[in-house]
Subunit: 431 residues, 2 copies
Amino acid sequence: MESANELTATQALGLMREGLLSVEEMAQACLARIRARDPMVRGWVHLDPELILRNARELDKREVKGPLHGIPIAVKDVIMTADMPTQHNSPLYKGSFPTVDAGCIKTLRAAGALIFGKTDTTEFASVTRGGTARHPLDPSRTPGGSSSGSAAVVGDFQVPISLGTQTAGSTIRPGSFCGVYAMKPTWGAINREGLKMLSVSLDTLGLFARSAEDLDLLADVFALEDRGPVKPFALRGARIVACRSPAWDKTEPATWEAFDRGINLLRDAGAEVAPLDLPAAFSALPDNHATVMAGEAQVSFLSEIRAQPELLHEDLTAMAKNSKGVTKGALVAAYDSAAQCRIAFDELAAGFDAVLTPSARGEAPVGTVTGDAAVNAMWTLLHVPVIQVPGFKGPFGLPVGLSLTSPRYTDRHLLQVARVIGPLFGARGAA
Amino acid sequence: MESANELTATQALGLMREGLLSVEEMAQACLARIRARDPMVRGWVHLDPELILRNARELDKREVKGPLHGIPIAVKDVIMTADMPTQHNSPLYKGSFPTVDAGCIKTLRAAGALIFGKTDTTEFASVTRGGTARHPLDPSRTPGGSSSGSAAVVGDFQVPISLGTQTAGSTIRPGSFCGVYAMKPTWGAINREGLKMLSVSLDTLGLFARSAEDLDLLADVFALEDRGPVKPFALRGARIVACRSPAWDKTEPATWEAFDRGINLLRDAGAEVAPLDLPAAFSALPDNHATVMAGEAQVSFLSEIRAQPELLHEDLTAMAKNSKGVTKGALVAAYDSAAQCRIAFDELAAGFDAVLTPSARGEAPVGTVTGDAAVNAMWTLLHVPVIQVPGFKGPFGLPVGLSLTSPRYTDRHLLQVARVIGPLFGARGAA
């Protein structure tokens, strides 16, 4: 068999059920990969091999095994973990060690997951200046962000699953850059207690994996439920719409080519693919997203700037001081416009199996700036589920993905779509 | 002078500025009152006099004094404090001691506040079965809840200010029962990071004090800002509307009489007071609030029921199991209906200086059940600011208050209204 660290969670669970793989072996394989690769990828900010192996052995002793029994999961370091520090890549929280688990961590542990370590994030998941993590395929490039380490370590086969967060494009964009599956569920579908607050009406837990099946497994564990029954999905006769999004003018040829190729692959497989033109009101969504994020970030960072202003990154200081000058009137107007667009989008998208749209501007850029969330922000504001599907490549041979989206609380349906489209893009996207 | 524990924060700050009162003296006066009264009121779940006095002496040494310099503030025990346990009145969190401050606590400490201790809450601020706290004027009665201890200790002159939370009526109702000022700011106006999560789109930090000036002082510290300029307010010629709310049929004679008396006092002072009939769509708000709270609570308590189901209160188990059977379709419909009502209410209320509405069904009931949020829930769902103003009395001689509300992000304006109406109700409400 391939080295255990290369398995998806679903594959590893299958072997474990057969008694062919222990949790400790799985953990050791991941640790070996990390030892070999971390000096280049630098995705981890806290990793304690002794703690991991002790927990792995404990899990091996359990008679009752949970649905994520022994699966190593990396955690973005803006999410509280009871047994590891949570430092937000901020000097304000250096050595900070709250002794409670975030809600999502508690749920994962109850499912038997092996919480592995903490991964690199931009400061408070809020700026685009990167931390330590590098792109697994090219250390001169960013893995994206703000969930930089979480995307990099899954893309680099160091662990099968990781957690990130998304307020603009912090899960979907690094997922695309690193060539992995990534999911931003419907806003509110997974508890966000114990995640650092940036923007209360946008912040969402993000999921990274190397297969759509693994995302579906996480959806089971987090009890994601749809607003209606989930029907089987097949490409033949499927109705997909392709949406360039209001930020199309910011995308690059790598994304144009992936988008065209994706549409052609779907058509060749028997799906109808029509263009989706969004109503005029939707053109305000990118600006409204920026308004909501700035207006809410000002509130979120008040305590930090009041406590120790000298330790706050200049970009965060600017947020706390409302340097964009967002008025409360503008904030309320953005809330209300977004609320109307949510209703309209759900109605519009309900007539189709999925909406196909870009995941990022293009390939991962050179440098440490984690990139631009231009194509992601509107979907985050709409609160809809988004799944990044890898498979394409850009001119530098680096991954490019495409996103699938659908109405609020159709996450399980969208996962079924991703489970069919994913293997198609994976097999033929880069051919 | 009266005993220092009876001072409002504004009064105490004035004396401190003149060098007539030290932080330690203020703290000692509060501690003496607590020693005398806590055996009956039982509002505190954690109080460490040594820590308090050590911090008080530190504050007395400071050269630069913050806007809340030395003011004792009690904290509902669902809000994280770095130097005290945070236990949520849940056996799941017995002895839990996260070492970080919630955002609001960090902001208060930076303003020089003396974080005093933790106050009794119903389990996870989520059920109506009370904890230890009793009504300060009648130990056979509830102080209301879920912010039971925070309302009781301010009402009992043990500290001048306290923090609660509100998801339905958990701040405004106990404020009314205990005869104190209470405020639920616009949703999102104060950071809710570090508060236990019940319902992500409803949870709001609540403020208790014994004067409107003190609430205004807190509004300064939390940098509350309005959507427009704040104009001076006077009762002569003011335009007030009186809204019985869709839950009027659940109110009792004590509230009817306070409501009528309040209207007459305002009219006698020269205000125009007209009845406000809400549009038909608003009649769905109480049900929509129940749907949103149940739908979101199911997500919030997933981790607790997965981790240690045997330690969860049966009402919370029911929430985690979605015993009300709220579908995701119903949740989305409730979100969307509420979003439309927010827009409509802001437009409707913008034509008036304030909306007057009940704070509670009536006086504090006998027993340990903390009461009913029927008259509060719709305003929480509308995200608007609400200020409970005390001053009236019911047939048992216990306090009854009335609420003021206005469009989202007009909190500072509403505080100006409360600063004028509060003394009127206080002087004449119970005459």
